[in-house]
């Protein structure tokens, strides 16, 4: 069964550094997402992406965050200047356009900011 893959599985970065998290969504999906889960807390929506543009974003997704689909397969989340509070598990997901189809999640990237 096709799956969403994320790299790296664990990223350790110094505060203030830029970080790029990478995802390969399921190939025939049209919607792509980033969510995050701070340790012990809920999974929170960050952003959705469709037709090469952001379709929705949360309050968390401020100017420090950006997303890109640089080619036909990858989907990236960039954090420009990381803060301690950005430490979390970041999940990529993808889905078809049909809202009655589930979103499929990757295994996540654990981001640790020192």
């Amino acid at each position: 069964e096709p799956e969403v893959t994320q790299t790296p599985s664990h990223q350790v970065t110094q505060m203030g550094q830029e970080v790029i998290l990478r995802c390969v969504p399921i190939s025939n999906h049209l919607y792509f997402y980033w969510y995050r889960q701070i340790l012990g807390q809920k999974v929170e929506f960050l952003v959705s992406f469709y037709n090469n543009e952001i379709s929705e974003k949360s309050e968390i997704f401020d100017d420090q965050f950006s997303v890109e689909r640089p080619d036909g397969s990858n989907f990236t989340l960039k954090i420009r200047s990381t803060k301690l509070e950005d430490s979390a598990m970041y999940f990529c997901a993808s889905s078809p356009k049909d809202r009655y189809q589930p979103q499929h999640f990757g295994d996540g990237t654990r981001l640790s900011i020192l």
Binding site: Y31, Y35, V43, S55, R99, Y100, Q101, P102
Partner: protein, 112 residues
């Protein structure tokens, strides 16, 4: 407002017993989904129930939805040690957005 609140927060049962987890939400929804998360891993989709459905089955899973009470339940029958995980409900709102709103989850422990 908080959406998708599960209870109980933790549930410990013996293998073979049934496990029931509940979820409440506050706003109108398009559908409600249940996910499982094994420790340190990603979210695995279990089942989706549409707002116009009342009950859905998938293998040992049974989901109910009561839109008048804005609540859902997930029943896992004949539980196994491998069912040990966190279970989350997530709602997709009305309108045209695709944002899933997750609850805090129920940690299920199935003891052999």
């Amino acid at each position: 407002s908080q959406q998708g609140e599960e209870d109980p927060q933790a549930l410990s049962i013996q293998e073979g017993e049934n496990a029931t987890m509940n979820c409440s939400y506050k706003t109108s929804i398009n559908n409600l989904q249940w996910y499982r998360q094994n420790s340190g891993r990603g979210l695995v989709h279990l089942i989706l129930i549409r707002s116009n459905e009342r009950e859905k089955h998938s293998g040992r899973l049974r989901v109910t939805l009561d839109t008048s009470k804005k609540s859902s339940s997930l029943l896992i029958t004949a539980s196994r040690a491998a069912d040990t995980a966190s279970y989350f409900c997530a709602t997709l709102g009305g309108g045209s957005n695709y944002k899933l709103t997750f609850g805090k989850g129920t940690l299920l422990t199935v003891n052999p």
